[in-house]
Symmetry: C2
Subunit: 120 residues, 2 copies
DNA sequence: CTTGGCTACCTACTTATGGTAAGTTATAGC
DNA sequence: GCTATAACTTACCATAAGTAGGTAGCCAAG
């Protein structure tokens, strides 16, 4: 098994590409991106406005929140809804696909409760 | 778990710091780091040697694999065992804590099967 | 006894991603 | 006209990831 293909060469399906389910890989890369899991978890609690998310996800910057929301929208895990008015309200909520991440995120949450101490 | 607010409930800046369980946050930052989820998932299939992991996780470089393995070892999700011999064998396997990620990763895997297409 | 191969790394360098701060547009209140 | 708020942009710098190449220890072939 020549794993590491010569410089510049691409890894082909022969070599190990199927060793790990590619959909799982995509999923972990997607919700694993910094802040994404946290954002989705907040949205599991119901629709939220931009600034509510900013407050609910401690540490994230507005730039990154925008970026992550765009990505999630593109992946169709959330929808963006604009309510016109005095100051416009932009509301984000989970799609069906997004909401179904609950089981996985809850399982991860339970694991974290059990195994992760709190010392940083 | 007290993490979720009821649908529609308002999140204020006071509770924002605690709005998202810090352990969950650590967990998602930990297994969300690039490749980490994939590595753990391979190890759920049993102990693996360095080069076996390299082959089983398509796309990862040896440098990053080393780095991720060190991190996982430090977090006590895996143990590193060296078997002396002609060419030394270095074997990585999950600790109890690591093995218990199975539920969460399986749930994510099921979600990915259901919702993620394959087009890259 | 030198050459080449294997395993499990390490070092240096380049590119991509994340973080910080300031600016923008539009509307509203004073 | 001045200031505020919401939801972003833009510009810039820091950190993380990707790539290339090298190393040490051992073995077996030539």
């Amino acid at each position: 098994m020549s794993t590491h293909a010569a410089p510049g060469q691409h890894i082909t399906s022969e070599d190990s590409a199927q060793a790990l389910c590619p959909r799982f890989h995509r999923a972990v890369e997607l919700i694993g991106r910094r802040w994404t899991g946290a954002i989705v978890r907040v949205l599991l609690g119901g629709p939220r406005r931009f600034n509510e998310l900013l407050a609910a996800v401690p540490g994230i910057s507005d730039r990154l929140l925008t970026e992550r929301l765009r990505e999630l929208e593109h992946e169709e895990l959330i929808v963006r809804r604009v309510e016109p008015g005095s100051p416009v309200k932009v509301i984000y909520e989970l799609t069906c696909a997004g909401a179904e991440l609950q089981e996985a995120l809850d399982a991860l949450g339970r694991w974290a409760e059990r195994w992760l101490g709190l010392q940083p």
